[in-house]
């Protein structure tokens, strides 16, 4: 995957992860696996984890420790009310950005 998509992904990863979690609770490994399946093959597990730590610190998700059959207990993240609000804001910003970029592409700025 090119450098450009990695750079663009950086700015949107938080919104993407919140959007994934709005569907259902998930743990870190599941989120990374899903992203890789979708073609973001360069995404590092640690990058997703650092982001999960951050959104937990900012109170956007609730965390539950669930025992796992292999290895240590897993932290399962679910979106809370504050996270949902944050996600709505992300989509509004996203719409704004894509609209403007589309205008630029069509040369009608």
């Amino acid at each position: 995957m090119g450098k450009q998509v990695t750079e663009m992904l950086k700015g949107t990863l938080e919104g993407i992860v919140l959007a994934i979690l709005s569907g259902r609770p998930a743990y870190g490994y599941e989120i990374t696996a899903w992203l890789r399946d979708q073609g973001f093959s360069d995404i590092a597990e640690g990058t997703v984890y650092a982001l999960l730590v951050r959104i937990e610190q900012r109170g956007l998700v609730d965390v539950e420790k669930v025992p796992s059959e292999k290895g240590p207990p897993r932290k399962v993240y679910s979106l809370n009310a504050q996270g949902r609000e944050h996600l709505e804001e992300f989509w509004r910003t996203w719409s704004f950005l894509t609209e403007r970029l589309e205008q630029l592409r069509e040369g009608g700025n």
Binding site: G28, D42, T47, Y49, A50, V53, G71
Partner: protein, 130 residues
């Protein structure tokens, strides 16, 4: 993140810790080291290298530093258990990963103080106090 109970410390313990620093911190650090030693050899080497880097740039406060190391150990234990290769954990650029990770623990980082100082200096000469 385990926090010690707020039980009243004995006077002896209080004086001792003036010299040694909090004993809970040492216990937490030993616990973290013991966890890293349980990891497969290559994961252990990788986490040691990350720890070395993060100690240079990381939080100066013990509590924040230990929270960071414990979170790092969580990641490596999970990854080892899932069989995620180290390259897939830290990515193509381990420095970038380390920096992204470090930004979650700004408390007591000398670089945070310098960033604040820079922002304040510019605020003072621009009237933009917002």
């Amino acid at each position: 993140m385990a926090t010690e109970s707020n039980e009243q410390k004995s006077r002896y313990r209080q004086y001792l810790e003036m010299v040694t620093g909090p004993l809970e911190d040492k216990r937490r650090y030993r616990q973290y080291k013991a966890r890293t030693e349980q990891l497969p050899a290559s994961y252990h080497t990788a986490i040691d290298a990350l720890q070395r880097y993060m100690m240079f740039f990381g939080p100066g406060k013990a509590d924040s530093l230990l929270a960071m190391l414990e979170d790092l150990a969580d990641l490596f234990e999970q990854s080892a258990a899932n069989g995620t290769p180290i390259r897939a954990v830290v990515g193509e650029d381990p420095v970038e990963f380390a920096e992204a990770f470090l930004r979650n623990y700004p408390e007591g980082q000398w670089i945070s103080r310098e960033r604040e100082r820079l922002a304040n200096a510019i605020d003072r000469v621009t009237d933009d106090k917002s």
